[in-house]
């Protein structure tokens, strides 16, 4: 019989986060005895390119499809083609506004970022000026994490003012951006960085300026983990990307086996800092 094959289409592939998802998907594929490919566009803006990837994947007549939609609406018609061809679909990372996917292995960016806001707020005594550096102004992940952070602060911490929100899509640009923010706001007490690249930039900027303010990151990666461990960053949030990858492949395998799936599977997120990052539960979801 023909080998079971699932194309997994992510929002990107070169970022650490997506590489970790890929890792999870690959290990689950091995476990389930299926083959996968893992693809994604260059940036989270290239929605049409992702649609082309999706179309090429459907052309291969796969047995299942994992899809992390860059836009919750725009790609529904393309997914419809897959559904019409009888291909089971599992959405991941963020959902689509449609009931085509059998399930969504999701992670709540808003809630995760809110946890970061809580951590930051507590560390600065729930008052003072803070700023945020977001990795992307328009993507679902970027918007979710930004708004989760800002909304939580606005709701729960009236004495904290957000003096600046800027955007930087790589570690170097994040470094320069954060240094400029520190320059402009000498009274700043804390900064939130919304992905691994931004968090590396945060760590480098704090080191270079010798600033002692509170930094909170997102995702994982060696630089960030080292900085958290060394106390240079207060802490960070991680979303268990490996778990997401496993969930996608496992769900597809279950669907083929005829199991019914819940509409969403929350893979969760975790706040980690120097105190808990070596606990087995946290260490398992961190990656280098």
């Amino acid at each position: 019989a023909q080998e079971t094959y699932f194309p997994i289409i992510a929002k990107g592939f070169s970022h650490q986060f997506w590489q970790a998802v890929k890792l999870g998907a690959e290990s689950a594929a091995e476990r389930n005895g299926v083959s996968i490919t893992f693809e994604g566009p260059n940036t989270e803006a290239e929605i049409d390119k992702q649609t082309d990837i999706l179309n090429a994947a459907i052309a291969k007549k796969p047995q299942g499809l994992g899809f992390a939609a860059l836009d919750s609406q725009a790609q529904v018609p393309a997914l419809q083609k897959a559904a019409d061809a009888g291909i089971p679909i599992v959405a991941f990372d963020s959902g689509v506004e449609s009931d085509l996917p059998l399930t969504t292995c999701t992670t709540d960016n808003m809630a995760a970022a809110a946890a970061g806001a809580d951590g930051l707020a507590k560390a600065i005594g729930e008052e003072g000026e803070v700023a945020a550096v977001i990795h992307d102004q328009t993507s679902a992940t970027g918007i979710g994490r930004r708004d989760g952070f800002l909304n939580r602060l606005a709701e729960a911490y009236p004495n904290i003012t957000v003096v600046d929100v800027q955007y930087a899509n790589d570690a170097l640009k994040a470094t320069e951006t954060i240094k400029a923010i520190l320059q402009a706001h000498p009274n700043l007490k804390g900064i939130f960085a919304s992905n691994e690249g931004a968090a590396i930039g945060l760590a480098v900027a704090l080191k270079e300026t010798g600033s002692g303010i509170v930094g909170v990151g997102f995702d994982s990666g060696k630089t960030q983990k080292d900085a958290v461990r060394a106390g240079e960053l207060l802490g960070s949030i991680t979303q268990n990307p490996v778990g997401i990858g496993e969930c996608v492949v496992d769900s597809l395998a279950k669907a083929l086996a005829g199991e019914t799936l819940p509409t969403t599977i929350d893979t969760g997120f975790y706040w980690y800092d120097a105190t808990n990052m070596d606990s087995p539960e946290i260490a398992a979801v961190l990656y280098d």
Binding site: F38, K60, Q73, A74, Q137
Partner: protein, 334 residues
């Protein structure tokens, strides 16, 4: 005095699909080679549904390639085609969704706005003597920023204008010939290409574009209004980007304000692979369309083969170089 030797007249190069043009468009050979290769080695590649995928994936890049071909033949460059496409898509969104006007307003508005912004690039180049690379690099940023400003950095959906989706993704052809499912977007691309080829080869604008690209100073000293024609050329490029904006936003049923960066390099690559000379004065629309097809066949084929993403990037780089090499060699032989 002795007679001038008159060898048999060479065929004149004018039409879109004359033998001479086809001979020139040797990129075609590369395209056939790629199609052949993938048909053999990529399972499920050679199916009509996948050909439709490829055509659809070519539409936007093909249209942007046509836009930039005009400019490149005039010895300029347009780095703003990608973000200009995005900006015009956002304008269409503003007109149709935010202002709620009927479809034709959106279509015409997006194109005119593209033409207007292109003309501004052209004016910077012609009047302020800014090098095209810089003027359009600046415009690339301006268009990108304005797309975010106008859209509030959020996608604008066209849900209120259901017919919008048909610009790109419906299929007039299927209605005429059931079973032959060619999306409208592809027809639009071919339509733009034919119109562009006619303009380039038959109109006075096209003639001036070639003259500008070959020797601008000689054209100026012949009394040609060089400045005006430059502005018109960039304006035309912007207008065609407007068509690109309509295509992509119709396909995604939304104007995505962050999209577009990097598309300019693909468009330029399509033109150059198709034999347009970056030093100006030489190029064909047919070549550009073939160039765009080469790029999407390559991308699609590698995807269908399931090549690892990072290797896909490496191979794409190699094939772009190889395609132009084959083109150079064949051109010399021709």
């Amino acid at each position: 005095m002795t007679e001038t030797t008159l060898a048999p007249a060479a065929p004149e190069k004018t039409g879109f699909l004359t033998v001479a043009t086809l001979q020139k468009a040797v990129a075609f050979v590369v395209l056939i080679l790629l199609l052949g290769f993938f048909s053999l080695f990529a399972p499920n590649f050679a199916q009509w549904s996948n050909m439709v995928n490829i055509m659809q994936a070519t539409a936007v890049n093909g249209v942007l390639g046509v836009a930039v071909t005009f400019v490149i033949i005039s010895a300029g460059i347009d780095l703003s085609v990608g973000t200009m496409m995005t900006l015009t898509a956002v304008i269409a969104g503003l007109i149709l969704t935010n202002a709620g006007l009927p479809l034709p307003f959106g279509v015409v508005g997006a194109m005119l706005f593209g033409g207007f912004m292109g003309a501004i690039s052209g004016a910077c180049i012609a009047k302020l003597k800014i090098p095209p690379f810089i003027a359009t690099l600046g415009m690339m940023q301006i268009a990108r920023g304005l797309a975010l400003v106008f859209s509030g950095a959020k996608p604008i959906y066209f849900n209120d204008t259901p017919s919008y989706y048909y610009i790109s993704s419906g299929s007039v052809i299927t209605r005429l010939i059931p079973g032959l499912e060619v999306p409208n977007g592809v027809l639009v691309m071919f339509g733009v290409a034919i119109a562009a080829a006619v303009i380039l080869n038959r109109s006075i604008l096209g003639r001036y574009i070639f003259a500008l690209g070959s020797n601008e100073e000689a054209a100026r000293l012949s009394g040609v209004n060089v400045d005006m024609w430059k502005i018109v050329t960039y304006g035309l490029s912007g207008l065609i980007c407007g068509v690109g904006g309509l295509l992509i936003s119709s396909r995604l049923n939304s104007a995505q304000p962050a999209l577009g960066l990097g598309y300019e390099l693909d468009a330029i690559a399509a033109a150059v692979i198709g034999g347009t000379s970056l030093s100006g004065g030489r190029g064909t629309i047919l070549g550009t369309i073939i160039g765009a097809f080469i790029m999407s066949v390559l991308t699609n084929g590698l995807r269908v083969m399931g090549v690892q993403e990072e290797w896909k990037i490496v191979i794409t780089g190699i094939i772009i170089i190889a395609a132009v090499y084959v083109d150079t060699v064949l051109r010399k032989k021709a």
